[in-house]
Symmetry: C3
Subunit: 265 residues, 3 copies
């Protein structure tokens, strides 16, 4: 597997020198490297956010992409660092589960290796910045033609992220908000198909009832709380031309209930 | 018109996976694509802000640049998506007027087309994310040599952004703040030439009077509220080494008055 | 010295058109230019922050890199603009000292020039945006092969940033917090070697005592205030899985004291 494109995702913040230092390391090893930033504003150490973030973008990249992900609350402990191949893409990640939701969307085969070969690392390796000292150098070496099997042995187990699962019956679906996007839209863990299969229904979020079920935001007057199928295919609660998170005062973890039957009037 | 450079501007926020998903789509269609980020922190759905943002940067780009702009409160309604050619540059934008202020600065000719050819789109097209499903794929196809006339028919009308106009008399100019920049500098809609033509004058903003008229921030002691000609050529109110927006408690829409005559002492 | 890579660092904010305008100027002069963003979220006009930011990343870049830094509270005054060569890298910076801490880490020789040749600038030059009108055009010309000696005369003095120095005795080190990173970790000006040389010791920050001295964050239970050697080699105070800045209510300038001897129990 050759690398045609490198992406960077961290929780370092856009104002820190940590991202810049990683970029310096990449170019020091491969002056011709090509990379792009996905985000450096992942909420600090938020593995759940990272898991949904990666699931929402990694599947859109082509085979040959290498993603470096540095959200690493366990840095300096004995948690492993991993090289993952899935669906022709590659990831370099701490073994904290943030990548498994994305990998499950990609086609097999899945192969996971532990990074154990220090010859591809910076020296000395600090105890608190493996993004700069291990992941960035390994990524740069991969772009220069180093093969995955040179990085370390195949791993047989790893930490998995277990997303909260909805409960689905023929007349009711119970789920929860799993992501709040930058517009304040509330993305649930309820699959769009399950929602559609229920037919006419009512949608409750926390102690509120959604006013309208729509296809897109613009179908309702400004300020209306609506439910729709999101661009990622899940049930979404939004506020037309506003923020549902702010309007309803809710966030990640808030229960979402869909009940078959007509809306009360 | 060939595309030599692609830029991205959105209101998706730096922490969302939406920008990253668009980048994945671009690379999936053209693995050799070259792009750069202008901003992903446009205030959500703020078309006025977008209009001034684009007017402040698009004119500095060379012919051959293609700008993709996704600030799209009307996504999923029947608003059109447009391909615009102006002054040798191209834009892909929702038909909401956010681009017209910038285009008016560019040289003619201006040509506008509606995007109607689904063969250049992702399938299926979601109801809420046309940036990923229509604009990004169309942009990638343009970089591969697809011609504008393949995208859809020429449009003869579109939504225009009408910027607030100042009132200019020989002894007084009345305008307003149209942009607050990240330093808290207040950019008005009063042209620098009109301001200069007034000669000696006094500048009022809201209920305050500006203390000094200067050429650059550093000419006044820290904390002084000053007026000057901005780098974009309009009357600007600033606070030396501080934020005028915060110091004066004002923002977009605050009236700005310039009155011929010497300052009161 | 040829330029193989260009980086941009500003305090313009990710939502302003100023960064985008600079990028337009770069591409207008050299359509094939290759650049990367280090940060555009430097706190406005904060030269001290910039100094530590650059010291934390510039040394990781390879020879041949050109860094453009636009943090420029003195724009429009008679402060000079400089071209700096240090350790095979180049910087274009206002003469405000923000670069000297980074340059001191790089290998000699150091050569500094004043930018005095307007033929490499945009015309007209505004009084408030030399990043767009002088630094970006000069940078683009350097990538096209213009030599440093064409930009202006060698300078013999310039503004220096004088970082606060710790006081080091055989039994006590007195320093202060100089950077708060995005995680709320507190980076001091106390060298890691001096800290280690003290042997068993106690660490005080403001009026608090650090609970544990560790090698990495993960060694202490969540919420513990710890001291460790940072990835940049200085004494750092952190809060395991939290923000030390928030937990302790302290920031830049807070005194840090290291005293030889065992911790009180």
């Amino acid at each position: 597997v050759t690398v045609s494109l490198l992406t960077l995702t961290t929780d370092f913040g856009d104002d820190s020198s940590y991202v810049a230092a990683m970029k310096g390391v990449l170019f020091s090893i491969n002056p011709g490297i090509r990379f792009l930033d996905l985000s450096h504003n992942i909420p600090p150490q938020d593995l759940r956010y990272t898991a949904y973030f990666l699931a929402g973008c990694v599947p859109f990249f082509p085979a040959g992409t290498l993603h470096v992900i540095v959200v690493d609350p366990g840095v300096g402990t004995d948690r492993a660092l991993l090289h993952v191949e899935a669906g022709g893409q590659q990831l370099l990640v701490p073994d904290n589960g943030c990548w498994t939701l994305a990998a499950a969307i990609l086609d097999p085969p899945l192969q996971v290796r532990q990074l154990t070969e220090p010859r591809f690392w910076r020296r000395p390796v600090s105890a608190t910045f493996h993004g700069r000292d291990i992941l960035a150098p390994v990524a740069a070496h991969l772009t220069l033609g180093v093969r995955a099997d040179q990085l370390g042995p195949v791993a047989s187990d790893w930490v998995s992220f277990d997303p909260p699962q909805p409960t689905i019956t023929p007349t009711r679906i119970s789920g929860e908000v799993v992501v709040v996007d930058p517009f304040g839209n509330l993305l649930s863990n309820i699959p769009g198909e399950a929602f559609r299969a229920l037919g006419t229904c009512r949608v409750h979020i926390g102690s509120c009832e959604v006013e309208r079920i729509v296809r897109s935001y613009g179908e309702a007057p400004p300020g209306t709380v609506v439910a729709l199928i999101s661009s990622s295919g899940v049930l979404e609660i939004a506020c037309a031309q506003g923020s549902a998170a702010r309007a309803l005062g809710v966030g990640v973890g808030t229960p979402v209930e869909v009940v078959a039957g007509t809306m009360s009037s």
